[in-house]
């Protein structure tokens, strides 16, 4: 099975490259694009500490979404929080020795996986049952949900139905750090799970998943409300003044 292992090894190198490279480029692009005017949605904090708090509430609690739509908030919060737990749980496959907090989180990671599926199902159902949301959904919106659901399901199947040899999976990824291809167990469910994860990594920087970095660059959320106290002038706008 070394052929398949080879392919997966290259796939993960490629996916990592695309994910990190793509995201870096995007973040640089966002960071370099000037925001010529102060446009925070008010009432906005008047200090940077206040802005940091506002952003934290957005990232951790999805504050605006909570005000916007309770159902969407419940489902997406379940999904994202589940995803966080699952990701933390998975760290043990990539780190050796496994830090204590990651060891302790293991059982919760399973619940996280379930919460993730339920949340995704709820979000997906809205795309069919709410006419407004159906109207705005494009094929890619459905496909991304399908992809995430499939990742979650294959993961849970490995946990509850057909176990995989997790030690060897861990060795495979440890091998990748040393640029060595260690044989991957040839379980179809595992292979599918990994394939889908790689796919997710690859589409990340080119899809709506960009909302993750986007949130941090949103001027309506991350700007300090102090335009009377300070001039806020973009380089291209400054040039107008010199004319």
């Amino acid at each position: 099975m070394s052929f398949i292992s080879d392919i997966y090894a290259y796939l993960f190198y490629f996916a990592t490259l695309v994910l990190l490279g793509g995201l870096t480029l995007k973040i640089l692009q966002y960071a370099r694009t000037p925001a010529p005017l102060k446009i925070p949605t008010t009432p906005a904090p008047t200090t940077s500490v206040g802005v940091a708090l506002r952003m934290t509430r957005e990232v951790v609690l999805f504050e605006s979404l909570f005000r916007g739509n309770k159902w969407t908030w419940i489902f997406s919060w379940m999904f994202h929080f589940g995803l966080l737990l699952v990701t933390l749980r998975h760290l043990r496959y990539f780190i050796d020795p496994v830090p204590v907090p990651i060891q302790m989180i293991q059982p919760f990671g399973i619940y996280g996986g379930m919460a993730m599926i339920v949340g995704l199902a709820g979000l997906w159902a809205r795309r069919f049952f709410v006419d407004r949301v159906r109207y705005i959904s494009s094929r890619s919106d459905h496909l991304i949900l399908a992809l995430l659901v499939a990742i979650g399901l294959t993961g849970l199947i490995m946990r509850f139905v057909v176990h995989t040899d997790i030690i060897r999976v861990k060795e495979f990824f440890a091998g990748l750090y040393r640029f060595e291809v260690v044989i991957l167990p040839a379980d179809p469910v595992l292979l599918l799970h990994l394939l889908l994860v790689a796919l997710l990594m690859i589409i990340f920087p080119y899809s709506k998943l960009l909302h993750a970095p986007g949130l941090f660059f949103s001027p309506s959320r991350n700007q300090v409300d102090n335009p009377r106290e300070r001039r806020h002038i973009a380089p291209w706008a400054k040039r107008l003044e010199q004319e």
């Binding site: 995007k26 692009q29 966002y30 694009t33 000037p34 925001a35 010529p36 005017l37 102060k38 446009i39 949605t41 008010t42 009432p43 906005a44 904090p45 008047t46 206040g50 957005e58 999805f62 605006s64 979404l65 005000r67 916007g68 739509n69 969407t72 997406s76 979000l123 809205r126 709410v130 407004r132 949301v133 109207y135 705005i136 494009s138 094929r139 890619s140 919106d141 496909l143 589409i203 080119y206 709506k208 960009l210 909302h211 986007g214 949130l215 660059f217 949103s218 001027p219 309506s220 959320r221 409300d225 335009p227 009377r228 300070r230 001039r231 806020h232 002038i233 973009a234 706008a237 107008l240």
Partner: protein
């Protein structure tokens, strides 16, 4: 009830989210700008050749200039949280008036030309070329957005459709497809100094009339000065304040407040307009040009402070952008906010106990307050977040006995737009305006039914003009909308004022004078 050749929405007891009716507003569009108006602003006169390419180029240019545009076009996850937040969707049921639906009109072209996914898999991600049909949709639906930012409050990423519709209008202006109402008005500011095109002598005449009215009413000589060099304060106010009802009552109020404060003040014939329609068309250049007039006037008149009158988007431009666009303001007195809102000014005086009120003079009214979008969601007053909600309310409570807020879901930063902002206050968009006003009127109707509210106060010239025109469609009276400083003016007891009893209706006289003004000026061009 005003006549309409379209269905005026019914007011319901509970706000409802309507089912979508695709295309129902596809017919609605404002008049296109003529070449002469376009050119005055530095835009091509008519649709240019190879407009597709030029539009895409302009889009690329804006993507490089505005982080908001770039991030907002990338970040939407189609969660739908904004879909039921736009008053135009709620009133018209057209899904392209859902904020995300509106954004997508631009986003799908963005995807096609600026993203890998859209270049290679357009069908998968909903990307399309810029066709004539798409351009048509842009023109129609980006002129059914009042840039009120209500959607941005609820979006998990703060995606602000106002930014997107400003960009779309900027792109269209650059290929020669402008909107008549906005562009003609900006042209008037350049030529004459204000949106209504009122020349200096007309302004002076009006102000003399006001002085007489106030003297007749109070026996106190309150001055309404203009172009007075060396005055301490420059007042910049929407030109509607010079003529239209109820705006002018607000202007009378500002004058009385300044009088009581004992400060010297003036207006300027050169910068006789607070409104800045450059913002509505998303044009930094034009917004800057309009803002610079205020700077020039301030320097020429040698003032120390700048105060803005009651106008929503003017206050947004003043509060958020003036320092950036036309600063630095180091020649002004730094002890005061630059610029300052008239409500901040009045509120300060109230706190210092310098104003004496007889609240009972507003006893003929039971009031509520309409938070204007640009004040509520894009500016501030005072030094604490949320001052823009508290200060006007504090003033109103100080000058009247009966005040009730509308439903919590429809005020403060969740306030509903009047339906006429963002350059939509034109008669050719009457249907959109009436339908878009529905959520606000519904909330108003609620407090009318339950609390016996009779009047709604506002601090935005567009809101005032819009409600004056639109309330009758819903069976209400046009004079149910009032200025905050009109209430101040009613209740304020001037030092040396002879009697507490207000004389018989001096307002009558003003109305006579108003009646001689062309009606369209006072309503459709007010800002």
């Amino acid at each position: 009830m005003a006549k309409a050749n379209f269905q005026v929405p019914e007011l319901k007891e509970y706000a409802e989210i309507p089912e979508i009716e695709p295309g129902i507003m596809a017919h609605s569009k404002p008049f296109k700008s003529k070449p002469e108006f376009q050119e005055a602003l530095g835009f091509p006169g008519e649709l240019v050749e190879d407009w597709q390419k030029k539009a895409i180029d302009k889009m690329g240019d804006l993507l490089g200039r505005y982080r908001s545009l770039r991030v907002y076009l990338d970040s939407c996850v189609k969660c739908g949280a904004c879909t039921d937040k736009c008053h135009y969707y709620l009133g018209t049921h057209d899904p392209k008036n859902m904020p995300v639906g509106r954004q997508d009109l631009l986003r799908k072209v963005y995807r096609r030309h600026f993203t890998l996914a859209g270049r290679f898999f357009p069908n998968l991600v909903g990307a399309t070329d810029l066709t004539e049909e798409v351009l048509g949709d842009w023109y129609n639906y980006f002129h059914q957005c009042s840039q009120c930012r209500r959607c941005s409050v609820f979006c998990p990423y703060g995606i602000d459709t106002a930014e997107i519709s400003m960009a779309a209008r900027e792109i269209m202006d650059h290929i020669g497809v402008g909107q008549k109402y906005c562009n003609e008005i900006i042209g008037k500011v350049y030529k004459i100094g204000n949106n209504l095109g009122l020349p200096g002598p007309a302004l002076i005449d009006t102000l003399e009339g006001l002085e007489e009215d106030v003297f007749d009413e109070t026996g106190v000589e309150v001055k309404y000065p203009i172009d007075q060099e060396g005055a301490e304060i420059l007042l910049v106010t929407p030109s509607a304040d010079f003529f239209a009802e109820p705006h002018v009552d607000g202007l009378i109020g500002y004058g009385k407040v300044f009088h009581e404060a004992g400060v010297s003040w003036t207006m300027s014939t050169y910068a006789s307009e607070a409104a800045n329609f450059g913002m509505f068309i998303g044009s930094y250049d034009n917004m800057r040009r309009v803002a610079l007039r205020i700077r020039e006037a301030a320097i020429k008149l040698g003032v120390k402070r700048i105060v803005f009158g009651e106008c929503g988007h003017a206050w947004r431009v003043a509060y958020s952008f003036l320092n950036t666009l036309a600063g630095p303001w180091d020649f002004l007195d730094q002890r005061y906010p630059i610029p300052q809102h008239i409500c901040e000014f009045t509120h300060d005086l109230i706190q210092q106990g310098k104003l004496k009120f007889d609240k009972s003079r507003n006893d003929d009214k039971v009031l509520t307050y309409h938070d204007s979008c640009n004040v509520a969601r894009a500016s501030r007053m005072g030094d604490k977040p949320g001052g823009q909600f508290d200060i006007p309310r504090a003033i109103i409570r100080e000058v009247c006995n009966h005040y009730y807020d509308m439903d919590e879901e429809t005020i403060r930063d969740r306030t509903f737009c009047c339906g006429g902002g963002g350059g939509l206050l034109t008669d050719d968009l009457m249907e959109v305006r009436v339908k878009g006003a529905q959520p606000r009127i519904e909330a108003l109707n609620h407090v009318i039914q339950e609390k016996g509210v009779t009047h709604m106060a506002a601090i935005c010239a567009i809101c005032k003009s819009q409600f004056t025109k639109v309330l009758p469609y819903y069976g209400m009276d046009m004079d149910q909308i009032v200025s905050v400083h009109q209430l101040v003016s009613n209740a304020l007891i001037l030092t040396g004022q002879e009697s507490d009893e207000p004389d018989d209706e001096p307002a009558d006289k003003r109305e006579d004078k108003l009646a001689s003004e062309p009606a369209s000026q006072s309503t459709s061009a007010a800002a």
